[in-house]
Amino acid sequence: MSIWTKVLYAVVSVSVATVYGLTLGGIVRKLYARVHGRFGPPVWQPFLDIIQTYSRRVAVSHGNMFFLGPVLRLAGGLGTYLFIPVIFGSALFSNFSMAGDLLLVMYFVFFGQLGMALGAGQGGHPYSPLGIARGLAQMSAFEVPFSLAVIAVAIQYNSLNITSIVAAQQGGFMHWTLFTNPLAVIAAMISILGMNMHAPFSIVMAPQEIPIGPPIEMNGSFLSILQTNRGLFAAAKLVLFMNLFFGGATNIIEMIVKTFFIYMFSVFVGAAYPRFRPEQSFRFFLKWPAFIGVLSIIYITYLGGAS
C-alpha cells in the first residue's frame, strides 16, 4: 500500500470518526433531554454549531499561543485517533497502526490537554488557568487507574500493539479483556468517566463554577476547531477502549454498537449525579480505581490471568 493510499484512507477514517463522534454527541444530548423530561435538540445540532462558530466574522486572538491551543488540541485528537486501528482487519480503518502504538496513543490522549493549557493560559481570563489547573490535576488523577489498567492489559497480552491486543481478544466474547481481566476493565471504565468529563467529573468546564473553564476565551473558528476535536477525540477514546477491553470490532456496525454502549456508561452515570468538588474528584481516582488498577496488575502478573 502506497503512503498516499494510506493517507487517503486515514482522511476518510478521520472524517467518519468525526462525524460519528459528533452524531454520538447529538444522540447523547437527546438522551439527557429525555431524562430532563424534554425533547432536546436535533441529533445534527453539533454540526450546525460547528458551522455557526466557524462562520463568525471576527475571532479575537490573544497571541500566538492562544492560536496554538486549539491546534494542539486537535493535534492531540488526531494523534490519538490516527494510531488506533479502528476496525480489526479493515485496511480502510486501520490508520497508522504499528508496533508500540499503544504508548503513542497514551501519550496523545493527554497531549491535547497540555496544548490546550498553553493556549488557554494566554487567554488572560482568570477562569482559564483555574480550569486548566483543574483539568491537568484531574487528568493526572484519572491517568493513574487508566495507566494501571493499560499496563495490566499490556502485560496480559504481552504487547504494546493495539492490533495484536485486539487480535488476542478475537474468538468469542469470553476472550475479551472484560472477562479475562475484569479488574483492569473496572479501573479503566471508572477512569473513562473522568476522561469524558461527564458528571460527577465535569469539573473542568463546570459552568456554575468557572464558566466553561479553559475555552472561556475561545471564540469563532478557535472554538470550532475545539468542537471538531471533541467529536474526533470522543470517537478515538471510545475506539481505544473498545479495542483494549471489549474485543475490538470486525465491522463498522460492531464498532458503533460497542462504542455506543461504552459511551452510554458514562452518560448513564453522568445524568444521575452532580459534580464533585475538584479535590473530591482527585481523591476519588487515587483511591479505589487506582487500587483496583494495582490489583489488576497483581492479578495478571502473579495469579496468571487468562493468557
Binding site: 431524562v35 423530561g37 425533547f39 452515570v269
Partner: protein, 599 residues
C-alpha cells in the same frame, strides 16, 4: 456514604421513560388563560374618553389622542387612549378603573417588532388581531377601584314633610361631602356639558382639600348664584359624569350646595375680593329688566367689572322664576336672598314693582342707559286648549306657584288633576298636595301626562318623592276634554297616548282613542309649558328686532340682539332652566362690556 445514596440517584432514568413535560407547539397550543392580562382592547361604543385610565397609569403609558370618526359631544370627549407598550406593565389597573368598562384586555400576548416605535397603538382604532378576541381580563364586578356608590343624602321623611314647606334635602355634612368629593375622577367631562362651564373638578378638589374659600372663588367665576344652583339646578353635569355609566353619578349639585352652605354670607366679599369694588366704578350704566337668574347674573358680572347697574323687576321680590316658580320646600327663600343680597351688596340696585312697558318704557331705558339687558323669563302659562280648559277652575301652574310665593290664599279643591310631566308639574303637584294636606288632612291629587313614565321629563327623584307624598301619578295619557257640569269642573277625560314624538323627533303625539280613562276632579291645573311675555317691546322696537322662526328674539353669541344696545338672555332665549339663565347673563355681561368698550 451509604450504598443507597449511591444507587438511588440512578433512578433519574425512570423519568426518561416517561412522557416529556414539553409542550409541542407552544405558540399555538397554549393560549393565555381565560382572564389573562394580555394586550388591550377598547370598545369604542362604550368609551367616553374620560382619561381615567391615563390618570391611574403609574407608568405614564397612556395618552389621550383624537381618533378619526370620534366626535366630541357632551359626555364624550372624542379622545381615545393610546397605549405605549414601551411603558405598559400589564397591571390592568386601567381596566379595573375604567368607569365605562370599555377598556379590557385580550388573552393575546405575542407581539414582536423590529422597530420599537411600533409599540404605540390606539386599541379599538388600530387594527389588531386581538381586538375581536373574546377571552381576556375584565374587571371583576366584586371589586371597585373607584367608588360607584353615592353617599346617601339625608332627607326629610315623607310624613315629616308632606304638610309643610320646610326644605326637604338636608344637605351634606362635612364628612359626607368629603367622602362624596373623593369619588370624583377629575376627568372634566362635566364642564363641557354645564351651560355655565363651571370648573366642577376644581371646586370638588377644593372640597377634598377642605379649602372652601377657594371652592367659593371657583364657583363665582362663572356662577353668582350657587345657592340657587346648588338646590334646583337641572344638573346636566351629572348625566355626563363618567361614573354615571356604571354607577351613581357624582352628586355635583349637592357638593356645590355644601360649599355655599358652609361659607357664611358675611365672608363672601372678603373671600371673593369684592370689598373694595366701589373704587373702580366706571361711568357707564346698564339697565337690566327682570331680577331673575339671568338678569342678576348679568348684573353681578357687570358690577364687578365696574358698571353701574339697575334692575327693574315687576314683582315685589327678587329671584324671578327661582323664587316665584319653585316651591319653598325645594328652594327656601332665605337661600335665594343669600345669593341676591350679596349681589345687591356690590351696588346693584333693584327697583321692585316696576313693570317695563307699563311703568317705564324700554325707550326710556335706552335713552338713560348705555345698554339694556332683558331677562324677562317665561311667566305665562300654556294651555292644552282642550274643551273646558277655559273654565275658571282650570289654572296654570306658574300662576298658582306665584300666588303661593306671594302668600295669597289659594282655593284648593278636594280633588285635583294636574296635566303635565315636567318638573313644574311635579312642583305644583307637591305644592297642592301640601296645601290639601293642610286644609283637609288628606291628599287627593292626580298627575297625568302624555309621556310614559320612562320618558317623563321630570327628575326621577321628584316623581318618587311626589308619590311618597301620596300624590297619584298616572302617566301616558293624553287629555281629551275637561268635563264641566253646572259651570264647575267635573273631571278630565283622557285617551291612551301611544307616542309623543314622530320619527323626526318632532312633537306629534299619537293616541289610541279606544283606551279611555276618566279622572274625577274639582280643579285642573295645566302645566305643559310656559310662554314668554314680550309685551314690553313697543311696536317700534319689535319691527327693528329680528326673530327666529320659532318666535324667539334672535341673538348672536354674546346675546346681543339686532338692536346693538339690547341684550337678551335667560329663559326667553335658552332653557328654561336656571343654569342657562346664569350662563346667558354671564356671557351677556361680557358682551355688554365688549360692546361698550367698542362704542
Amino acid at each position: 456514604m451509604k450504598l443507597k445514596d449511591v444507587l438511588s440517584p440512578l433512578r433519574v432514568w425512570e423519568r426518561a421513560a416517561k412522557k416529556p413535560m414539553t409542550i409541542k407547539d407552544p405558540i399555538n397550543e397554549r393560549p393565555g388563560a381565560a382572564n389573562y392580562r394580555g394586550f388591550h382592547k377598547n370598545d369604542f361604543s362604550k368609551c367616553i374618553g374620560c382619561g381615567t385610565c391615563e390618570e391611574i397609569c403609574q407608568n405614564d403609558a397612556i395618552d389621550l389622542v383624537p381618533v378619526e370618526g370620534q366626535e366630541t359631544v357632551e359626555g364624550d370627549s372624542g379622545l381615545r387612549p393610546m397605549i405605549d407598550y414601551g411603558r405598559c406593565c400589564w397591571c390592568a389597573l386601567c381596566v379595573d378603573v375604567c368607569p365605562t368598562g370599555a377598556l379590557t384586555m385580550s388573552n393575546d400576548y405575542t407581539w414582536i417588532a423590529d422597530n420599537p416605535e411600533d409599540y404605540r397603538f390606539v386599541p379599538g382604532a388600530d387594527k389588531t388581531k386581538w381586538q375581536e378576541s373574546e377571552k381576556g381580563y375584565t374587571r371583576s364586578p366584586d371589586i371597585q377601584i373607584i367608588d360607584y356608590d353615592r353617599v346617601d343624602m339625608q332627607e326629610l321623611k315623607p310624613e315629616e314633610r308632606d304638610k309643610s314647606f320646610i326644605e326637604i334635602v338636608k344637605g351634606y355634612n362635612k364628612e359626607q361631602a368629603m367622602k362624596e368629593a373623593e369619588r370624583c375622577l377629575e376627568c372634566g367631562l362635566c364642564i363641557a356639558t354645564c351651560p355655565a362651564h363651571m370648573d366642577i373638578p376644581g371646586y370638588i378638589a377644593a372640597i377634598r382639600d377642605d379649602d372652601l374659600d377657594n371652592a367659593l372663588r371657583i364657583l363665582y367665576e362663572t356662577n353668582p348664584m350657587p345657592e340657587i344652583c346648588g338646590r334646583i339646578c337641572t344638573h346636566k353635569c351629572e348625566t355626563a359624569c363618567a361614573l354615571h355609566n356604571n354607577g351613581d353619578p357624582l352628586a355635583i349639585r349637592w357638593l356645590k350646595r355644601y360649599i355655599v352652605d358652609q361659607v357664611p354670607a358675611d365672608k363672601y366679599s372678603e373671600i371673593l375680593g369684592t370689598d373694595h369694588l366701589e373704587d373702580e366704578v366706571l361711568n357707564r350704566k346698564v339697565a337690566i329688566i327682570g331680577a331673575g337668574p339671568a338678569g342678576l347674573s348679568a348684573a353681578y358680572y357687570l358690577a364687578i367689572m365696574g358698571y353701574k347697574t339697575k334692575v327693574y323687576e315687576a314683582l315685589p321680590g327678587p329671584g324671578g322664576m327661582a323664587r316665584y316658580g319653585i316651591p319653598e320646600y325645594r328652594l327656601p327663600y332665605d337661600q335665594i336672598d343669600k345669593d341676591i343680597d350679596y349681589i345687591r351688596s356690590l351696588g346693584v340696585e333693584i327697583q321692585f314693582n316696576t313693570r317695563v312697558g307699563t311703568d317705564i318704557t324700554l325707550e326710556e331705558l335706552h335713552s338713560s342707559y348705555d345698554a339694556v339687558f332683558a331677562g324677562t323669563g317665561l311667566h305665562l302659562g300654556r294651555s292644552t286648549r282642550v274643551p273646558g280648559s277655559d273654565n275658571k277652575r282650570v289654572y296654570f301652574a306658574t300662576d298658582l306657584l306665584r300666588e303661593v310665593t306671594l302668600g295669597n290664599e289659594i282655593d284648593v279643591a278636594k280633588n285635583i288633576v294636574v296635566i303635565g310631566g315636567g318638573n313644574v308639574a311635579m312642583d305644583i303637584t307637591r305644592t297642592l298636595a301640601r296645601l290639601q294636606n293642610q286644609k283637609y288632612g288628606k291628599v287627593q291629587i292626580l298627575t297625568t301626562c302624555l309621556e310614559t313614565e320612562d320618558i317623563m321629563p321630570a327628575d326621577v327623584e321628584e316623581i318618587v318623592e311626589a308619590r311618597e307624598e301620596k300624590a297619584v301619578i298616572d302617566p301616558g295619557w293624553g287629555p281629551k276634554e275637561i268635563e264641566i257640569r253646572d259651570g264647575e269642573v267635573y273631571g278630565l277625560h283622557v285617551v291612551k297616548c301611544l307616542s309623543v314624538f314622530d320619527e323626526n323627533g318632532r312633537f306629534s303625539p299619537k293616541f289610541d282613542e279606544e283606551q279611555k280613562k276618566f279622572f274625577k276632579a274639582d280643579m285642573v291645573v295645566e302645566s305643559i309649558g310656559q310662554g314668554m311675555d314680550l309685551s314690553y317691546l313697543s311696536e317700534n322696537i319689535k319691527s327693528n328686532l329680528k326673530f327666529t322662526p320659532r318666535g324667539r328674539i334672535e341673538v348672536d353669541d354674546n346675546f346681543q340682539s339686532s338692536l346693538q344696545w339690547l341684550f337678551v338672555g335667560g329663559d326667553i332665549i335658552q332653557g328654561p332652566d336656571v343654569i342657562h339663565g346664569i350662563a346667558n347673563g354671564y356671557i351677556a355681561a361680557k358682551g355688554i362690556d365688549t360692546y361698550l368698550n367698542r362704542k
